[in-house]
């Protein structure tokens, strides 16, 4: 009985992106970004692990105004599945112009200290697999001399902290990787955006006591979409106040910083 609907709503002014690939479409921040993009009538291609969740997501985004929603189920933490995903994107979503990498995990820091397996998983998901995947998409955009490549890292990657340095080092490595990639793709006119959210209220952080410093995903998503539309600098801090805070944190001398327990 159920059929899904497609609405043709007009694309708002100054929208640069039209066809967006989202890697890790079921993450909390991605969900909010997709909703806002759907309202603007964009075309989306979503990648996530669960086919069931993707199908629920697809119906919802079409109902809310997305022009087209394609999905492919894959575990992006597994580098061997990347080629297949990339092929699917190129075949069914040619001329995509924006790629947003939105997946990541945050394991308990103490577990990662106690278990090398947990440590390696954390580094693999958040950095190794992300770097591998971005490399595939970078080559395509570079060849076409167009588009935008963005990835969600974290303010936690700006400095190694006692409480969260495993996650932080993976995200920090990803930020460095994006920095180099930006420089490489600059001559081709491909934009590379590093997105550094502060703590956001999502399922990934559900186990932490939520305080006032946790941002709402709606707000973070708005900032990210503005950045994807080239209305923000190469490195986006969201909410904005994390930029001055992290500047200060980065400049604390190491002799002092190592004594801080946060």
């Amino acid at each position: 009985m159920m059929m899904t609907i497609t609405t043709r709503s007009s694309t708002p002014r100054t929208m640069r992106m039209q066809k967006i690939v989202i890697l890790g479409a079921t993450s909390g921040i991605a969900l909010e970004i997709q909703r806002q993009l759907a309202r603007q009538g964009q075309d989306l291609l979503l990648v996530a692990r669960s086919a069931q969740r993707l199908s629920e997501l697809q119906s919802d985004l079409l109902a809310r105004g997305a022009q087209q929603v394609l999905t492919i189920a894959a575990d992006l933490a597994d580098v061997r599945q990347h080629a297949q995903v990339f092929d699917f994107v190129r075949r069914s979503f040619p001329n995509f112009d924006t790629v947003l990498l939105a997946y990541g995990t945050m394991e308990d820091q103490q577990d990662a200290e106690a278990s090398v397996d947990v440590l390696l998983d954390e580094l693999n998901v958040n950095f190794v697999s992300a770097a591998a995947l971005l490399t595939l998409f970078a080559a395509d955009l570079e060849q076409r001399s167009t588009g935008c490549l963005a990835a969600i890292t974290s303010v936690a990657g700006d400095r190694g902290r006692r409480s969260n340095y495993v996650y932080g080092s993976a995200k920090g490595a990803l930020s460095l990787f994006l920095q180099g990639l930006r420089s490489r793709l600059h001559p081709a006119g491909v934009k590379v955006i590093t997105i550094k959210p502060g703590p956001v209220q999502t399922p990934m952080t559900d186990h932490l006591a939520h305080s006032g410093r946790f941002a709402q995903p709606e707000r973070v998503a708005r900032d990210i979409i503005r950045a994807l539309n080239r209305r923000a600098p190469d490195v986006l801090y969201t909410p904005w106040f994390w930029r001055p805070i992290m500047t200060a944190v980065r400049h604390l001398p190491e002799t002092l910083f190592k004594r801080l327990a946060f």
């Binding site: 009985m1 059929m3 993450s27 969740r53 629920e56 119906s59 399922p203 186990h207």
Partner: protein, 453 residues
């Protein structure tokens, strides 16, 4: 990523501290929940149900119930708000399938521009589908359309004992009727099919008629029921025997429109000091409101949001009542028993504790959709009382007597204090509902009104 193994869920759960962040709209009573589950996907709900202790859970939507029917003090909640996906829509029939956390506001935003509107809407659009079903909410069109549950075609229910149960008027019909107005106690709603209604656009042809006696309210109501889809009255509860009010009636306009976005007003930043609302400021407000509307009498074309949801434009208006919160009292008095209604209004007026305009509506006589549905033929009156401790509770108890003698009842969605005896009188068949309660579910309200019995 949101996929979490059972082991990591267990571990994370242990870290969670009790929270006092989940309250009802009246902000009374104050509660502390031991844990709040926030499933982001329907596939996570069964695990939550299976691993919970007996009577430990209650689904929670946007917390717009006024009293304690959406609370589970000292126990756990399942926050269904993130389960808010629209799963399908049939443009031929106008049936939408959505998850339980989808809000009425979402449905309006998505479907009003396509020419569809809610079949029944309460006075706020910030309620979830799950909440609208669990309280079997009613609106200004009750005399024509019945309650929200009457437009529910089918639903999927997560049960801790039977897994996902699909029910409809034809399939598991008893579970279907128990879940409508079931106060969230029969399980977690996974999805629901709702029949929307065709409209031309966002406009309502509305008119306001002042009235000066309850009899003239009744006459207006009778006269309007045949010609108007929506009827309701605002009543000045300070007027006592000198009744005055504004009767509002309306129909969907044939006018098409482009402008569907609701308008926003101010937002209350924090709970106001308790003194801000006293009998003088409220009296003055009621005066102003009455005269403003009496002056505007006659027909006008208004947008759906100002017609249905005047209070929604003031975000968090419940903070007007200060830190202690407020109680809402909504009763139904059967058989258009004006003597009982007059007595209720008189007791309120004499107490001087009444608040903003009361709402008065004549219910229709259609059959109830759910086992514990509140609406029944008669007159329903709703109004707010700032919580001032014992005097407030005593006044409400004295109103209870009148309601009980009239053979009426109170609305659980608005209640934080009715006695088990009054609950029994309001819902004499509640015991036949008990077998449908999910063994893992309970609520503050349910324990309060049934455990003594």
């Amino acid at each position: 990523m949101s996929g979490q193994s059972a082991a990591s869920l267990q571990k994370k759960r242990a870290v969670c501290a009790p929270t006092d962040q989940y309250l009802s709209w009246g902000r009374y009573p104050k509660t502390v929940h031991q844990h709040v589950h926030r499933p982001a996907w329907n596939d996570q709900v069964p695990e939550i149900l299976f691993s919970a202790g007996p009577g430990s859970l209650l689904p929670y939507g946007l917390g717009r119930s006024y009293g304690d029917s959406c609370l589970n003090d000292g126990r756990e909640l399942v926050d269904c708000h993130p389960l808010n996906r629209i799963l399908g829509f049939d443009a031929e029939t106008g049936i939408v399938r959505c998850e339980s956390g989808v809000t009425l506001s979402d449905l309006i935003e998505v479907f009003l521009p396509k020419g569809w509107f809610l079949p029944v809407t309460p006075g706020t659009r910030f309620v979830t589908i799950g909440g609208a079903i669990a309280n079997d909410v009613h609106g200004k069109n009750h005399h024509r359309a019945g309650t929200f549950g009457a437009h529910l075609r089918q639903l999927g229910l997560h049960r801790s004992d039977h897994g996902l149960v699909v029910c409809s008027p034809d399939l598991n019909a008893d579970m279907f009727q128990a879940t409508i107005a079931g106060l969230g106690l029969t399980g977690v709603i996974a999805w629901a099919d709702i029949q929307l209604k065709r409209v031309a656009g966002p406009w309502i042809d509305s008119s306001a008629v002042p009235f000066h006696s309850l009899q003239s309210f009744l006459d207006l109501s009778h006269e309007s029921d045949g010609h108007f889809e929506y009827t309701v009255a605002w009543l000045d509860c300070f007027a006592g025997k000198h009744t005055r009010g504004i009767f509002v009636r309306g129909n969907h306009s044939e006018q098409r429109g482009q402008n569907f976005r609701p308008q926003w007003g101010p937002r209350l930043p924090f709970a106001l000091p308790a003194l801000a609302l006293n009998r003088y400021t409220v009296k003055a407000f009621n005066n102003l409101y009455y005269h403003a509307h009496a002056a505007k009498r006659g027909a006008s074309l208004v947008r759906y949001d100002s017609f249905f949801y005047p209070l929604d434009s003031i975000r968090r208006w419940n903070l007007l009542y200060g830190k202690r919160g407020f109680l809402q009292y909504q009763c139904v008095i059967p058989e258009n028993n004006l003597v009982a209604l007059e007595e209720v209004l008189d007791r309120i007026a004499r107490s001087g504790m009444g608040s903003f305009l009361g709402v008065l509506k004549q219910f229709g006589s259609g059959p109830p959709a759910g086992m514990l549905s509140f609406p029944r033929p008669g007159l329903t009156l709703a109004l707010d009382f700032a919580m001032r401790g014992e005097p407030t509770l005593q006044l409400l108890c004295s109103l209870d007597e009148v309601v009980r003698q009239s053979g009426g009842g109170l609305y659980p969605a608005k209640d934080a204090r009715m006695s088990p005896a009054l609950f029994e009188a309001s819902f004499p068949r509640w015991r036949s509902f008990v077998p449908y309660i999910d063994p893992k579910m309970s609520s503050s309200f349910w324990r309060r009104v049934t455990e003594a019995q």
